[in-house]
């Protein structure tokens, strides 16, 4: 038996240890993050899957624990991402302004994850929820931009406070902060309000439309190793909140008969669909690979929300599995880009090219990650998207199906862009000779994540069986699984079979290739130029405005949401200035005037 409390305390303590050791030598602090996060992940996974997590609390005040499959699902997955990413920390720690603080906050935010997912008390959950927010908030400015942290905090705060308000409403209904009691007790109009608040919270956390503007800013500017944590792990807190709202609360809303779906759920699905489309369109036009991946996270967040909002077992299963596959894929992709960023000093596609020549392993990691992200077999993303398609089609949601497929095909476009512009193409002269493959310690997590991408694609049932437990816990029927097959609503999928077929195809192609005459190797500059003499690599590399023809169609409409928030900000400032203008003068008579007005208001109301 392993006590969760002990684990939490160890995690917190190791955070402070990381700070102290980080003061001695910054790399020591980073190594503590590896040890600590690996320890937390492996204990959670080992004791969790053997059902031997102990929930007794003896030291911490107020904190109570419970182990649910749902919480364990999230906790294990998120700590896994933390553990994998932590291997990058020692290689990046030298760049940070406050290395000790980085190591400490990295571990503390992970400790918060344990608290959020293993408690049965809303207040404790909220405590750790906010704890994660402010610890991670201070990690972001260690990267490129301070503004990023501000917008991260602003949207997180909106999400947190919406959640808090909902928690208090549920507490009033249930009389206690118990999570299960609270969710069960809410009903009537209050249920609708709580539902909306929780959805706002989920959207803000997941970065779904229209609460998404922080996502590219934060992900794009966070320190390289922290971006995968944000994208793969922390935004998934929003999915957790969404599950509470969409599955556990059933507000009495009008049911759309044709769709067999309540209006509330349908509206959420519509916004999720908008997130998919908007995230895809924005990702297509990014030049910074990290921002591109950030918008892709927004789009995938939309998939997750959409899947949950459909309310069917297969949708739920698809949503949960998409959380896993997206976390693994985006984690690997961000890490690959981080490795490139470290070796070259930039993540802008227009400044890079031909990185594959020197970083082939990183390239392969990225390739596998994007295959999964685009939902192409034999990687995990295909399975989860397949499940989501099943759920969408089962309900016959034509418009949402269009959005879903738009996101899916659109993902081919945006994931290919870094592939072509950053990894492939001409090798930029400034990197020739100096660029090296990432160090081994960075390759380890990237390779492990790639392996996981493959495993989730070939043997999804290992994971889906556990997800079935989660679904049953949520009160739904499990998805029918064979030894290797998954039974959908309109077909069966056998991922292993597809993989074998793919393997055979590749073997045949390889045999054909190897039997034929050997090719002559030529350089990249030795290409067809239609008779022109092109002498420099820059001129022979197509990377700027990659999708210009399609971008042209919507480039005027990309900033509406940002503009809205900007003008909201200005409105607040204006209001402040107006008040200042009317009340804050150096003339005491103005104050007297206001006093008279107020007295007048009283007299006019009551006495005269």
């Amino acid at each position: 038996m392993a006590s969760i409390e002990l684990l939490l305390i160890i995690a917190l303590a190791s955070g402070f240890l990381a700070y102290l050791l980080g003061r001695v030598n910054r790399v020591y602090g980073a190594i503590v993050t590896i040890v600590s996060s690996m320890f937390v992940f492996s204990s959670l996974a080992y004791f969790g899957f053997t059902d031997s997590l102990d929930t007794t609390v003896s030291i911490l005040p107020y904190v109570t624990f419970q182990v649910t499959y749902l919480g364990m699902f999230f906790a294990v997955m998120i700590t896994f991402i933390y553990a994998m990413v932590s291997f990058f920390n020692p290689m990046f720690i030298k760049d940070y302004k406050y290395p000790g603080a980085y190591s400490m906050l990295y571990i503390l935010s992970m400790a918060g994850v344990i608290g959020v997912f293993f408690t049965d008390n809303f207040m404790v959950m909220f405590f750790f929820f906010e704890f994660i927010v402010w610890t991670s908030m201070f990690l972001i400015p260690l990267g490129h931009s301070r503004k990023a942290a501000v917008s991260y905090y602003a949207f997180s705060a909106v999400g947190s406070f919406a959640l808090l308000f909902a928690i208090f409403m549920m507490r009033e209904a249930a009389g206690s902060f118990g999570i299960n009691a609270g969710l069960a007790a809410i009903s009537g109009t209050n249920a609708i309000v709580v539902f909306i608040l929780l959805i706002v919270s989920a959207f803000a956390k997941l970065g779904a439309f229209p609460l998404h503007t922080w996502l590219p800013i934060a992900h794009g500017n966070a320190p390289h190793p922290f971006s995968p944590v944000l994208s793969g792990a922390l935004v998934k807190l929003g999915a957790f909140v969404a599950v509470m709202a969409l599955i556990k609360i059933t507000p009495n809303s009008y049911v759309i008969v044709a769709l067999d779906l309540p209006l509330a759920q349908y509206l959420v699905a519509i916004f999720a669909g908008l997130s998919i489309v908007f995230g895809t369109l924005m990702a297509i036009r990014q030049d910074d690979a990290k921002k591109l991946l950030a918008y892709s996270s927004m789009s995938h967040g939309g998939y997750i929300l959409l899947a949950f909002s459909l309310g069917s077992s297969i949708g739920l299963s698809g949503g949960f599995y998409h959380i896993v596959t997206h976390a693994l894929a985006t984690g690997a992709a961000f890490l690959a880009i981080a490795a490139v960023g470290r070796q070259t000093g930039t993540t802008k596609m227009s400044e890079l090219g031909g990185v594959i020549q020197k970083m082939p392993v990183t390239y392969v990691v990225y390739l596998i990650a994007i295959i999964s992200m685009a939902g192409i077999p034999p990687m995990g993303g295909f399975i989860s998207k397949w499940l989501i398609f099943q759920a969408v089609i089962d309900k016959g949601l034509i418009l949402l199906a269009a959005a879903v497929f738009f996101g899916s095909i659109g993902s081919f476009l945006y994931v290919f862009r870094p592939l072509a512009a950053l990894f492939l193409g001409q090798e930029k002269p400034q990197f020739k000779g100096i660029l090296k493959e990432a160090p081994v310690i960075m390759l380890i997590p990237m390779i492990v994540l790639s392996g996981m991408n493959l495993v989730t694609g070939i043997f999804p049932n290992i994971f889906l069986q556990f997800i079935n437990k989660v679904i049953v816990e949520l009160g739904m029927a499990p998805v029918v699984l064979g030894t290797y097959t998954i039974q959908g609503t309109n077909g069966i999928l056998d991922p292993l079979q597809i993989t074998i077929a793919f393997g055979i195809g590749v073997v045949i192609a390889f045999i054909i290739f190897i039997l034929l005459k050997k090719s002559k190797q030529v350089g990249l500059m030795d290409t067809y130029t239609a008779g022109n003499f092109i002498y420099s690599e820059e001129l022979m590399h197509y990377s700027v405005d990659f999708y210009a023809p399609i971008e042209r169609l919507y480039e005027k409409h990309t900033t509406h949401v940002q503009d809205m928030y900007k003008s909201l900000e200005n409105k607040v400032k204006e209001f402040g200035n107006v008040v200042k203008y009317f009340f804050f003068t150096n003339k005491p008579e103005i104050t007297v005037f206001w006093i008279l007005i107020i007295i007048g208001a009283l007299l006019w109301g009551d006495l005269l």
Binding site: E130, W134, A154, L164, V579, K580, F582, F583, T591, D606
Partner: protein, 460 residues
């Protein structure tokens, strides 16, 4: 030992310090420390002055509530003085008078006596703020303060005419038993509320704040924003809980004033470009929030919130004004990167800010959650919504400020923080964390304070 010593000793010391100017700073330090120590030995009691019993004579009330208030004010006062006494030797006598006035305000059970102490401490404050070197602002403060206290006095006179008593308990008793229509007392109450509103920084009676705090120095900033704010807040709390009966239109007006102060304060801070302006506008909002919580009847929580806020403001103003004194101005751009080489100070500042924002692990979180809980339990859903929404705004500008102060690549501002200051801010910050994690005594204290019926005078 009697509570009266808390007023008498500083007053006597003030005279003494005029006689021995050379040692005035030492006297100030010793006396302010002594009054903190003294608090431990004074029994809770009601002291009658001059031998006349309560309704006719003046009495001092030392109950649980005023004890906490005295602790807060005296400790904060001591900390401010300890850091500043060497530099502001000339002000020693005035500061001692101020201490006497503040202690008197908290202790007194007599409404007219309260006016006297208010004036005493007010005059001390006007004099203190002359060190800001902004005569116009000080003059403005003086005028507004005078207007405020006149309105208070006017209201009091009306009440005296109606009920024939000046004693707080007696007045409350008379009002509740007289059966007067609520509208009759509304007018004097409003006048008194406005009178206090000037000192308590409530909009729209607080235009002096910008001039005073916006150009404050190391002494006046923490003194006005922290020590005075604590004392006034506690007294206002006592009046709101014990004396004032706000109903009908009056309640609406008062609530509107408080709500407007909260919202407008945060909005103004949001647009501010100077560090001290951010802090002063945010303290307007906080003062109004404290008053609102008092008004809603959550006395204990309001008192603790007041302590948390004023303690936080002490750190913020001390650090900001020290930096401003050395750098010449307080534009955010000037102070940017301040903490890069002053990490200890920076961490304390950060803790104070996170405390104000009510983030977990800090004292502010515990209080905020409990206040929201109380509001929900009394079915007030509007206030939690307002508080949470302005919290987002508050968070944005404070985090923006923090990040500016922590990050700058080159050309860092050179500021020296002396050991005493560091020591003080670290200890206060540590306490904010301690009570954020170890919440049992906080909740106990809040419950105790709310439960006390100190009005009857018997529950001492």
């Amino acid at each position: 030992m009697s509570a009266i010593l808390l007023i008498v000793i500083p007053l006597l010391a003030a005279f003494l310090s005029i006689l021995v100017k050379k040692y005035s700073a030492n006297i100030l330090l010793v006396v302010s420390f002594a009054s903190v120590v003294l608090l431990n030995y004074i029994p809770l009691e009601v002291i009658t002055i001059g031998g006349f019993a309560a309704p006719y004579g003046i009495n001092l009330i030392l109950d649980q509530y005023s004890l906490i208030a005295l602790y807060a004010v005296n400790v904060l006062f001591f900390l401010v003085v300890a850091i500043n006494c060497a530099k502001f030797k000339k002000l020693s006598s005035i500061l001692l008078v101020a201490l006497a006035g503040l202690n008197g305000m908290i202790l007194t059970g007599d409404l007219f006596n309260l006016f006297v102490f208010m004036e005493v401490s007010g005059i001390a404050a006007y004099l203190m703020t002359t060190t800001n070197q902004k005569p116009l602002a000080t003059f403005n403060y003086l005028v507004q303060g005078t207007v405020g206290s006149s309105l208070y006095l006017l209201g009091l006179i009306l009440l005296y005419a109606m009920f024939g008593t000046l004693n707080m308990q007696d007045m409350a008793f008379q009002i509740s038993s007289s059966g007067y229509h609520i509208a009759v007392t509304a007018f004097p109450f409003l006048l008194m509320f406005i009178g206090f509103g000037v000192e308590a920084k409530l909009l729209p009676f607080n235009s002096w704040v910008q001039g005073i705090l916006g150009s404050s120095n190391r002494l006046t900033g923490p003194m006005i924003a922290s020590v005075y704010a604590a004392a006034i807040g506690f007294v206002l709390g006592r009046l709101l809980t014990e004396l004032f009966v706000f109903e009908g239109t009056l309640l609406l007006i008062v609530t509107a004033i408080l709500g407007f102060s909260i919202v407008a304060g945060e909005a103004m801070a949001f647009g501010a470009k100077k560090v001290r302006e951010i802090l002063l506008f945010s303290s307007i909002a906080q003062a109004a929030l404290v008053a609102l919580v008092f008004l809603s009847g959550f006395t204990g929580l309001a008192a603790l919130l007041l302590i948390a806020n004023t303690a936080g403001k002490l750190i913020l103003f001390l650090i900001t004004n020290t930096a401003t004194d050395q750098l010449g101005n307080d534009d955010i751009s000037t102070l940017q990167g301040l903490f890069v080489n002053n990490k200890v100070v920076g961490v304390s500042f950060t803790v104070a800010v996170l405390n104000v924002l009510g983030l977990p692990m800090f004292f502010g979180f515990v209080l905020k959650m409990n206040i929201l809980l109380e509001f929900f339990q009394t079915d007030h859903l509007l206030w939690p919504a307002v508080i949470l929404i302005v919290s987002v705004v508050e968070g944005i500008y404070f985090i923006r400020l923090l990040l500016k102060l922590w990050f700058k690549e080159s050309d860092l501002p050179q500021v020296e923080f002396e050991f005493t200051l560091k020591y003080v801010v670290v200890v206060v910050a540590a306490l904010l964390i301690l009570f954020g994690v170890y919440t049992a005594p906080v909740e106990q204290a809040a419950d105790d304070l709310t439960a006390i019926q100190y009005i009857e005078g018997g529950n001492l």
